[in-house]
Amino acid sequence: MRKEITSKDVRKFLSNNIVPIIFIVLCAVCIPVAGYTGQYLVDQIITRIVRNSFLVLSLLIPIMAGMGLNFGMTLGAMAGQIGLIFVTSWNIVSIPGLLLAAIIATPIAVVLGWFCGSMLNKAKGREMITSYMISFFMNGVYQLVVLYGMGPVIPLSNSRVILPRGYGVRNTIDLLSVRKSIDNFWAIRLFTDENGTGGITIPVLTFILIIALCLVIVWFRKTKIGQDMRAVGQDMEVAREAGIKVERTRILAIIISTVFAAYGMIIYLSNMGTLNTYNSHSQIGMFSIAALLVGGASVSKASIKNVFLGIILFHLMFILTPQAGRNLIGQAQIGEFFRVFVSYGVITLSLVLYEIRTRREKAESARNLALGQKQEEKA
């Protein structure tokens, strides 16, 4: 029997996917207005996927463990940046440099993740705002280390990294020595013009890395610890009664996320080619989270599909709006403000929808429970 599609189904589909639908409409409107060529857009989107997907993927595991959106991924980004600062200062180049940066970043990310996880265990039920504040707090500590610690306490002296005054890291560090070394290791170029420029570049190795991480996440869901995390995410008390070490599992989820975020930041920055020591990390959490939510994820549910759809839609909007603003109103700045408004707005909308949905579900289950009791009494 064919299932009838009722208006209720349509409404449910719409309400569950409202954010991606808004974005698809928005992009559909902006594409002709901005007037970019299809080839340019595809190339740009491939670049954005390469840059950001590792970062966005790092958000999945805490969501699985019921800890919401991990705003503390900024901590991982800081760890990755510290790794890159060291590597640039030592002048380790190319892929070995990035690998070494990852090795240096890992223990830092583990410690930071452990700190974040233990803090979140003390703030159950308000993980998101707490992880958000942790990222702010740690930003101060990071600045203390990088601005006053590096040079006198942590012996770095390379003038490309350290300020002439002898302490503190420069505002921007040129990552020329490691720039795009993973991407260019094995890149396929399509549709280039006769000068060999333009067209679409596909960095194969980076894609292999990203696919590998996706597979790891898929595999991880099926392991014992992954199952535990899902149980904890479903209901902490039930999980505890089933003998799962809830606190430990939650800390582990955050640690894994932080470490992946550190690797993601290294990939992101090596693709960008410059490190803004005091800025790069602070916005990355917000943009990654917005991208994930645009892909249709919610605070309690997110999949790999959401990650990629989200990055494509969100970054398409990001590329299009300044140009669309310029063409439409004659001011690119409006487009820039608009895209920031949209990123914040998307997060707000998703959070609100999630809270409303959870409350409705709670109310429904309570009603069902009451109904069941009544029927029992009758029988």
């Binding site: 703030a123 705002i129 707090f137 101060g140 600045q143 006053y148 408004f341 959070l351 609100v352 409350r359």
Partner: protein
């Protein structure tokens, strides 16, 4: 001894450290060649500027909506009031009153909507408040560009369109409170009007919290089940508290502008909630408990540290670590409050 420990515990270790730090700063200051009286003047001036924004935290904490990270919404109402007052072109003290009057309807409407929204997301208020604040700031950034303002003091000179990032309040309500009723004793100058202005609103809030509606609001925050049982309309109380907070936020920013001298538009209000939130927490409030004393103590401590650290540090070690220290202290304080077990489940 036990009692002393008890008091100490109630006071909280971070608060104790911050107080001692501030006292130490004041003790060191003369040796570093900084005049104590000038410092006190500075701290009190900052207190007058910022205290009302900190006061804006109180109603929402009382009704159980948590820390008002959505303060930028209130600030935006204030900015709308300020820009409209300047647009009318009336100079002098009247412009300050006009700004308050103009910002009030915006604060009430925005606060009402914001309150309705927060009622639908009970339990997740703080995170959503943060992002409501951010999105409204971003939205208003677009609006400042396209709203049809025309006063030449505010609009970009060369395009004649869109507001400037900072607008001077000079000639309008610059130092309107600061310079009224100020007492000068040597280098020490205290602006009575500013403090009285704050005291007036602090008193109103205090008195309000002791009226029937006020106690109902507190009941909603401290024990929602009991409040519901005794027939209090929870949602209405919460909306009312949010409107009050938003309006106080608007007043707060106007008071800030008259002291600071500039109206900051665009991204200016983005992170203004954080100092206010951490000030009230330093003053001894928690996520679900706050009073006027917390506001006063907190603002003095916070502003004291903010104004004293740079000068003392600079003259002692010739390194300005104050900004970084401020970030660590203020955000660490918020983090401490959020992770305390005693806080409600919210």
């Amino acid at each position: 001894m036990d009692r002393a420990m008890e008091i100490l515990k109630g006071f909280g270790l971070p608060r104790l450290i911050i107080t001692l730090f501030l006292v130490a700063l004041f003790i060191i200051a003369p040796f570093a060649g900084i005049s104590v009286t000038a410092s006190i003047t500075d701290v009190l001036g900052r207190f007058g500027q910022n205290a009302i924004m900190v006061l804006a935290m109180v109603p929402m904490i009382h009704s159980g909506c948590g820390l008002n990270f959505g303060l930028p919404l209130g600030i935006i109402s204030g900015l709308l009031g300020a820009t409209l007052a300047i647009e009318t072109g009336i100079h002098g003290p009247v412009s300050f009153i006009l700004a308050i009057l103009y910002s009030t309807p915006f604060a009430i409407i925005l606060g009402w909507g914001y309150g309705k929204l927060l009622n639908r997301v009970k339990g997740g208020e703080m995170m959503i408040a943060t992002y409501v604040g951010f999105s409204s700031v971003a939205f208003m950034s677009i609006m400042w560009l396209i709203l049809p303002y025309s006063s030449p003091t505010m609009v970009w000179g060369y395009t004649g369109q869109g507001l400037r990032t900072t607008i001077s309040t000079e000639g309008f309500y610059y130092h309107i409170l600061r310079d009224t009723l100020s007492i000068n004793i040597g280098h020490l100058s205290i602006s009575l009007a500013e403090i009285l202005f704050f005291a007036f609103f602090a008193f109103i809030i205090w008195a309000f919290l002791h009226t029937k509606t006020g106690t109902a609001m507190t009941a909603v925050g401290s024990n929602p089940v009991f409040a519901r049982a005794s027939g209090i309309n929870i949602d209405r109380q919460r909306t009312l508290s949010v409107i009050m907070s938003t309006w106080l936020g608007a007043l707060g920013i106007l008071c800030y502008q008259q002291g600071y001298g500039f109206v900051q538009l665009y991204q200016g209000p983005m992170y203004m909630a954080m100092p206010a939130v951490s000030a009230i927490l330093i003053g001894g409030a928690s996520v679900n408990k706050a009073n006027i004393t917390n506001v006063i103590i907190g603002t003095i401590l916070y502003q004291g540290i903010v104004s004293m650290t740079p000068s003392v540090m600079n003259s002692l070690i010739h390194t300005d670590m104050s900004e970084v220290l401020r970030i660590i202290v203020s955000n660490g304080m918020i983090l401490y409050a959020l992770t305390r077990k005693t806080g409600a489940s919210r």
